[in-house]
């Protein structure tokens, strides 16, 4: 087996208050250690803000600003401009947000930063809902998933944020998963070397929100990747799609069975989700073949 390949320099501290077994904290560990100490960050209200922590403590060794929900990318832009004005343009500006703060209320600010190609590294921890407020739907919630605000199952599609970002022609977009920490680290490392707006979306199976066992977040993320529900890929300059694998994904059944939020599904519902995953996969293959 391949050993996990990144170095923990202690940039993320123990004692944070993420739920036991939280994949978001796990991903934070990789991201903060890969970004390194020459960085400042903004974090929008979300689980990740809770993980960075309440006053008077912080779990990060780099300074963070706890910003507002709709303005993470704008705040990051302001930081980068201040650093540039101060002659510290080599400092990475890291922006951490959830899917609510990215797909929904923060999309306008993110779109604007992306359009200006602000030199920021934007990480969206995508747990497919407003999990920090107890689990309500966001525009990232997949079809049929039960949330606090969709008790009979969500009736809309998950927004395709990647294609929205690709349409902005930002230099780098990637998807990543806590089930592949080396890949996540490699993508953050790569993003650091690119000037302009970098967006990495990390799938975060939420233990209470998705109904996943305390020790199963990584497994669930792995199933999401392997089933093609959340394929790992990169998009460069909005046009060059590079898939981590072009092997046919596994059926989604094992992924669905792992989670309480899909427990109510009929066979027809499950097949509809499978069909949707298949269609998305075909589209990805087509996009990847396009270059």
């Amino acid at each position: 087996m391949q050993k996990i390949d990144y170095c923990d320099d202690g940039q993320f501290c123990s004692g944070h208050v993420a739920c036991a077994g939280c994949a978001e904290a796990l991903s934070m560990r990789v991201i903060l250690n890969t970004v390194g100490e020459n960085a400042v960050g903004v974090v929008s209200p979300s689980c990740v803000a809770i993980i960075v922590g309440g006053h008077p403590t912080s779990s990060a060794r780099i300074p963070f600003q706890h910003g507002t929900l709709e303005s993470a990318a704008a705040s990051a832009s302001g930081m980068k401009r201040a650093l540039r004005a101060q002659g510290r343009d080599d400092t990475t500006v890291l922006c951490l947000a959830g899917d609510g703060g990215t797909y929904d209320i923060g999309l306008q600010a993110l779109s604007s930063a992306a359009e200006r190609n602000e030199d920021i590294l934007y990480i969206c921890f995508d747990n497919e809902g407003y999990q920090n407020t107890g689990g309500q739907r966001s525009s990232s919630t997949p079809m049929s998933a039960v949330t606090g605000s969709t008790p009979a199952g969500n009736t809309t599609q998950k927004k395709n944020l990647i294609e929205i970002m690709a349409a902005h022609r930002v230099p780098y977009i990637a998807t990543a998963s806590p089930s592949d920490l080396s890949d996540l680290a490699a993508k953050v490392t790569k993003a650091k070397t690119i000037r302009g707006t970098k967006v990495i979306i990390v799938i975060i199976p939420c233990l209470p929100g998705w109904g996943v066992a305390d020790d199963a977040a990584v497994k669930t993320a792995r199933l999401a990747v392997e089933s093609g529900v959340f394929p790992l890929f990169e998009v460069e300059n909005g046009v060059t799609y590079r898939l981590r694998t072009t092997e046919k994904p596994a059926p989604i059944a094992a992924y669905l069975d792992q989670q309480k939020r899909y427990r109510h599904l009929s066979d027809e519902d499950r097949q509809a989700l499978q069909d949707d995953v298949d269609r998305n996969w075909q589209r990805l293959l087509w996009l990847a073949a396009g270059e």
């Binding site: 100490e37 020459n38 960085a39 400042v40 903004v42 803000a49 809770i50 960075v52 922590g53 309440g54 006053h55 008077p56 403590t57 912080s58 990060a60 060794r61 780099i62 300074p63 963070f64 600003q65 706890h66 910003g67 507002t68 709709e70 303005s71 990318a73 704008a74 705040s75 990051a76 832009s77 302001g78 930081m79 401009r81 201040a82 650093l83 540039r84 004005a85 101060q86 510290r88 400092t91 306008q108 600010a109 779109s111 604007s112 930063a113 359009e115 200006r116």
Partner: protein, 388 residues
């Protein structure tokens, strides 16, 4: 303005361009700007300066005033000197972040051009946009004319950076923003020495791991407001000192509350912004007719300079408060503020709350003259009066 002419460098400028000149001289590091009528000429002039290498701030043109303020806050948190400008709807869109900026104690200077908010849509001078932000924790200053706007925006940086409070400077749409007057431009080195770069007590520093504005417990939140209260109390004195020092440098003295012929006045106008100019002319005419009129110009609205106002207005028989704003259900905001500021003093004036120019309607000098004549010696009226 009977100041001696010292090194005058007069230029014909409208109010917004005077602001842009002041900002250019103050040399902020970062300036996020979003266009809105009637603020846009500030933005345009700064971009023009930058295109001519006369202004080298990081200019950011995001998609909204909300993002402009968000980026202003973060830039300021890193220790940068930050300026932004807006008006009306834009200011209202920023509302959430106005609280945030003040709470985070980032010394941003913002220029707001007072304009009617929708609905209905309108583009007219009215101060309710900024007055509605009075509880956000921003210092608020109101300017009478382009020169005042230039001088005040420069002084605002000193107030902000000394107190670590954000400062909002306001002038009226069109009456000031687009009115051209001769403006004396101070020398760049003069402004530079007036605005030394001050290190913050705390700012975002690499390697510290210190986070700004992390979720706090009740006691910490409470303490944050007590700290602001302490800072707010210092503001009138600092503005007074800055106004005197600026006077020594330029011949133009300013203060939180400025008066004109109030010492023997039987009736005074109390107002803010461009209405002060109209009232000044009305005082001239009333004095010509033998009525001992005076003017109280409230330049600093937040924090309200209560001591100065009580000092000035004690013993004046009558005060006409001219509000170019309307707070539905109460009346003019300045009127309400004065009633509480003057409560309980000996020889308090009879206060008359006059809603003059709400929505930008024109208020001629004659109207003010006749109002003074009407209310001189009148019994107090508690309700506000709409002036035609």
């Amino acid at each position: 303005m009977n100041a001696p002419l010292k090194n005058r460098n007069l230029k014909l400028l409208n109010g917004n361009h005077a602001v842009a000149w002041g900002v250019r001289l103050a040399a902020p590091d970062v300036a996020p700007l979003y266009p809105i009528t009637p603020q846009t000429p500030i933005l345009e002039k700064l971009i023009e300066f930058q295109s001519q290498d006369l202004f080298d701030a990081e200019l950011l043109t995001p998609e909204s005033e909300h993002s402009a303020m968000a980026s202003a806050i973060s830039a300021s948190a890193l220790g940068a000197r930050v300026f932004t400008a807006t008006s009306s709807q834009g200011l209202l869109l920023m509302h959430e972040l106005l609280h945030y900026a003040a709470g985070a104690r980032v010394p941003i200077v913002m220029f707001n051009v007072n304009r009617t908010p929708a609905a209905p849509w309108g583009f007219w001078p009215d101060q309710i946009d900024s007055l509605a932000q009075r509880d956000t924790g921003w210092v608020q200053l109101y300017c009478e004319n382009p020169q005042d706007s230039l001088d005040t925006v420069i002084q605002a940086f000193r107030i902000a950076e000394t107190t670590e409070l954000p400062v909002m400077v306001n002038h009226d749409a069109f009456w000031v923003s687009h009115s051209v007057e001769p403006v004396d431009l101070p020398a760049a080195d003069l402004v530079q020495s007036f605005l030394p770069r001050v290190k913050r007590s705390v700012q975002m520093e690499l390697g510290t791991g210190r986070a700004l504005s992390a979720p706090a417990d009740q006691a910490s939140w409470n303490l944050s407001r007590r700290d602001m209260d302490v800072a707010m109390h210092k503001v009138p004195g600092l503005i007074d000192a800055a106004g005197r020092e600026w006077g020594d440098l330029t011949g133009r003295v300013s203060a939180p509350v400025e008066t004109d012929r109030c010492d023997d006045a039987e009736i005074v106008f109390v107002t803010m912004g461009s209405m002060a100019g109209t009232a000044r002319e009305a005082v001239n005419r009333l004095r010509d007719t033998g009525i001992r009129a005076g003017l109280v110009k409230v330049r600093l609205f937040r924090p309200l300079p209560v001591a100065e106002l009580r000092d000035v207005l004690a013993g004046v028989p009558g005060a006409l408060v001219l509000d170019r704003n309307y707070s539905p259900g109460t009346g003019g905001v300045l009127h309400q503020e004065l009633k509480s500021a003057l409560f309980g003093i000996n020889e308090a004036p009879n206060l008359f709350g006059l809603l003059t120019g709400v929505g930008g309607i024109n208020v001629p000098v004659e109207t003010l003259v006749s109002l003074a004549q009407e209310y001189r010696g009148a019994d107090p009226v508690s309700d506000p009066v709409w002036v035609e």
